[in-house]
């Protein structure tokens, strides 16, 4: 998000889901789309069947690989080098969109200079991708009329996550693939409302709609609206920063809503220590998660079906959902809990309901100005930016110019992953998700059918590696990193390349985040969940 905001001025999917139907080419990197965004994945499959091209970058043989025109399996953590190499070929072959670059962007010369060093030979050494294939990918992407870049956590959960995103933005601008239908740079957001949480200021440095807390005009506007003074203008800590501070003892209390860091965050031994170091922990969730079990106070929250409100999805579409059933027991909607807390703390938060809150959002958030309850009730949602009630919403961003004016090329050098295999920890472990489970399983593992489909954690290992180590499918193996160890069953499969292991973080009985590294991206502070070094052995 930070990467796209820096390059384009707006940190969200540039285009929309319907536009997948008309794309000529998909450039997918770091997204197991059919597993994690299956309905978007199905649009890609349909488009490919109608003749669209698909270039897939993934070390694993994910299901979409069967539909790929070109599937390139780069070495772990080498995306910046790979993309710089592609841009170098595009510039060398004069396939970039000169008019677009001159008219709509800035910083081309610096980009050209930097990527010039990423010759096909250099890139092949770093990424393991043959120059002929890199060349094919570069030409196909540059020559496509409507090409969409699609990515997800496989790009962001790296120490170079922000660099990865900036580099993708560079590539799209270089070829003029932003600002038209069925093009753009499209991060697929994971949860139904993660875009909405960001939009509503659920980030340490912004108010709603990405208005910076350091901007005096924004501060004044919110102070006036809330009849308060002295709002913090410095911004807060990220999750990574908070865990660090709690560990050090400088952060004393934490209020966690709808997150289960004791299973989902990297290096959970460290998280355990951090959380038990707190004087006071409040957890608000729909079930008693592992994290909630540790809390001093648990606030039971209503689930999606028990509350009213809006969700903002991956394509910036705000949609209204109404309660189907009342919440059980003492559970309440999140807004009621927060408003209740506010009043007890002396701030009158006397909203009559979500519609009232939406009015405040409309008044204080320019991009949500026209997204009113009455409009939402009468249709299937509105896509921001939607500044006023007559505005139809925005299908794709950056049409005539970028949100920030000219798009900025932000060239990045390749930097290796925080941990690379050595003699002792000789495998790269990469983590992800599977179709039938969701996140830490607090919800999906209670659903019998899903649990039947995917009841236990498995670690994927390549047949050649497995043979050397005497491991067969269903054998119990131990994975050990510098931070901890877990035991789980092996699945021997060519889906993973040699020296790479894959597993998921859904299963608390073998929490992979005992192993992962909390090294993080310096800008977004997203940890490198996608890879760490481990050793593997068969349990006797």
């Amino acid at each position: 998000m930070a990467g796209l905001a820096a390059a384009f001025g707006s940190g969200a999917m540039t285009n929309s889901i319907n536009e997948f139907d008309d794309a000529d080419l998909f450039f997918i990197i770091g997204s197991n789309t059919t597993a994690q965004h299956p309905l978007i994945g199905s649009r890609i499959i349909n488009a490919v069947e109608r003749g669209s091209k698909l270039i897939l970058f993934d070390p694993r043989e994910i299901p979409l690989a069967q539909f790929a025109t070109l599937h390139l399996r780069q070495n772990f953590g080498t995306d910046v080098a790979l993309l710089n190499g592609i841009m170098n070929i595009i510039i060398q072959e004069d396939l970039h969109d000169r008019l677009y670059v001159e008219g709509r962007t800035e910083g081309f010369e610096e980009l050209k200079k930097l990527v010039g060093r990423y010759t096909p030979k250099v890139v092949e050494q770093i990424t393991g991708i043959r120059s002929s294939e890199l060349y094919r990918a570069a030409v196909m992407y540059a020559q496509a009329d409507k090409a969409m870049i699609i990515y997800a956590m496989g790009i962001t959960q790296h120490v170079t996550g922000t660099d990865n995103v900036k580099t993708l933005a560079n590539l799209a601008m270089l070829t003029g693939h932003v600002g038209r239908p069925s093009t753009g740079v499209n991060p697929l957001r994971g949860q139904n409302n993660v875009q909405g949480a960001c939009d509503m200021g659920g980030l340490p440095g912004v108010f709603t709609g990405y208005q910076r807390v350091g901007d005096p005009a924004a501060v004044k506007k919110f102070e006036d609206a809330w009849s308060v003074s002295g709002l913090n203008t410095k911004g807060g800590l990220t999750i990574t920063g908070m865990m660090e501070a709690a560990h050090k003892g400088t952060l004393k209390a934490m209020y966690i809503m709808g997150e289960n860091p004791l299973v989902s965050d990297p290096d959970i031994t460290h998280v355990e220590q951090a959380l038990s170091n707190l004087d006071f922990l409040v957890v608000q969730d729909i079930f008693l998660s592992d994290t909630a079990a540790l809390a001093d106070v648990v606030l039971p929250a209503a689930s999606f079906a028990e509350k009213e409100g809006t969700y903002s999805n991956t394509e910036r579409r705000v949609q209204l959902a109404r309660a189907a059933v009342p919440p059980p027991g003492q559970a309440r909607s999140d807004w009621e809990i927060i408003a209740g807390l506010c009043s007890r703390l002396g701030l009158a938060a006397d909203y009559r309901g979500p519609a009232d809150i939406m009015k405040e959002i409309n008044a204080l958030t320019p991009s949500y100005g026209g997204i009113t309850y009455s409009r939402l009730s009468a249709g299937h949602g509105l896509q921001w930016p939607c500044p006023n009630v007559d505005h139809p919403g925005t299908v794709f961003l950056h049409r005539e110019q970028f949100t920030k004016g000219k798009g900025s090329f932000l060239p990045c050098e390749f930097k290796p992953a925080a941990e690379t295999p050595d003699d002792e920890y000789d495998f790269t472990l990469t983590t992800g998700r599977i179709y039938f489970q969701y996140h830490t399983g607090t919800m999906t593992r209670r659903i019998d059918l899903l649990e039947r489909e995917a009841p236990e954690p498995l670690v994927e290992i390549n047949p050649e590696d497995a043979k050397k180590l005497g491991i067969r499918s269903n054998d119990l193996v131990e994975l050990e990193s510098r931070r901890g160890s877990i035991q789980l069953k092996a699945e021997v499969t060519p889906r993973v390349p040699k020296r790479v292991l894959f597993t998921t973080f859904h299963f608390r009985e073998a929490p992979v985040n005992r192993l992962t590294n909390s090294a993080f991206d310096p800008v977004a502070e997203i940890p490198e969940l996608k890879g760490c070094s481990v050793k593997i052995r068969r349990c006797s």
Binding site: T34, P38, L39, G41, S42, R43, I45, N46, E49, Q66, F67, S377, A378, G379, H380, Y435, D448, L449, R452, E453, N474
Partner: protein
């Protein structure tokens, strides 16, 4: 035969809703039409094929079968007088086929009690609801021959009401239903039926595909091609009026207490056939898709067909909703035309 003015229908359904839990078409402000509890505000007669068949009135998505409290078992059989207003003939055929399946080899008391509690008003189709309707091919529509309490035919400003049971006859005996006492009543009705029938094209590939499956069998390539793109959502099964499979699970609520439930299941999930050893006789998505479609087109039971051609009643929903276009219509075309 009786007539009722269309403008009087909402009021009649409103009256019925005092005695029955009525499920009828509702038009929401967003433009979506679903079958839901009768509500005078949103009730509509201008609706197309609803996204879901009325299957959940007979086989709820989740249903408690018995509960256990401190070791004592109590059967839970739900009784609620229900009226389905305005379902289509294909969906009625789906109900009849499922009813036969659930009573043929055993008496599924849960399904039976729902069926005994439910009155059915069919709204016969005058034309296809959309381009995927193929009831005329599988003999399930556009109007019903049996199994309904009342069937309504569109005659312009009126509906012609036909009773199919004593309960139905009683319901249309009084105002605002009035006698349809013209001489050529029967002829007029058969004209309406005829026009409706002719408006829905026959999909010849259904019978062709059935013949191929019965004879030489189809090329494996068909299933492999389709299996590759199936995203295993289960949607085709959940929207199908004749899919009857469920999974049985126990929900423990406290020590020695809990409930046994059944929930919709689908043969497109690997766990549906996985054995305790881990071995799976249907180990690929291709083989699972093949199972589903062969169940409809080849391994159906003649008894359960209830006069239809096969185990598919031609509602077209799997073609409407499969995100990668693996509906019965696409499958029979692929088989009949030897595409893969």
């Amino acid at each position: 035969m009786k007539l009722i003015a269309k403008k009087d229908v909402a009021a009649v359904v409103g009256t019925w809703s005092k005695t029955y839990s009525v499920l009828s078409p509702c038009m929401h402000a967003s433009g979506d039409c679903v079958f839901d509890s009768f509500d005078a505000e949103t009730f509509t007669l201008e609706y197309r094929k609803p996204p879901m068949p009325p299957k959940s009135s007979f086989l709820p998505q989740n249903e408690t079968m018995f509960s256990v409290e401190n070791g004592t078992f109590t059967p839970v059989i739900h009784h609620e007088k229900t009226l389905l207003f305005g379902i289509r003939a294909c969906d009625l055929m789906g109900i009849l086929q499922a009813r036969s399946f659930y009573s043929r080899d055993m008496d599924d008391v849960y399904h039976r009690s729902h069926a005994e509690d439910t009155l059915i008003v069919v709204h016969a189709c005058s034309w296809p609801q959309n381009e995927t309707c193929f009831c005329t091919t599988v003999h399930s529509g556009p109007y019903a021959h049996e199994g309904f309490d009342i069937q309504l035919f569109d005659m312009g400003t009126d509906f012609l009401a036909e009773a199919g049971s004593d309960a139905g006859r009683a319901m249309i005996a009084t105002e605002p239903f009035r006698d349809f006492d013209v001489e050529d009543a029967a002829e007029r009705l058969s004209r309406v039926k005829h026009m409706a029938h002719n408006s829905i094209p026959i999909v010849s590939e259904v019978a062709e595909a059935m013949d191929i499956l019965k004879g030489t069998g189809t090329n494996e390539g068909v299933w492999e091609h389709l299996g590759r793109k199936c995203i295993t959502c289960g949607g085709c099964v959940y929207v199908c009026p004749t899919c009857t499979c469920f999974n049985v699970v126990d929900r423990v609520t406290a020590d020695a207490s809990g409930e046994r439930m059944r929930t919709w299941d689908t043969c497109l999930y690997a766990g549906f056939t996985r054995e305790a050893s881990g071995h799976n006789p249907r180990s690929s998505q291709a083989s699972r898709l093949r199972r589903r479609h062969e169940h409809k087109l080849l391994h159906y039971s003649q008894t359960d067909n209830r006069g239809a051609l096969c185990g598919c009643v031609g509602c077209g929903r799997c073609s409407d909703y499969c995100p990668v276009h693996i509906g019965t219509l696409e499958v029979v075309k692929a088989i009949a035309e030897h595409i893969y």
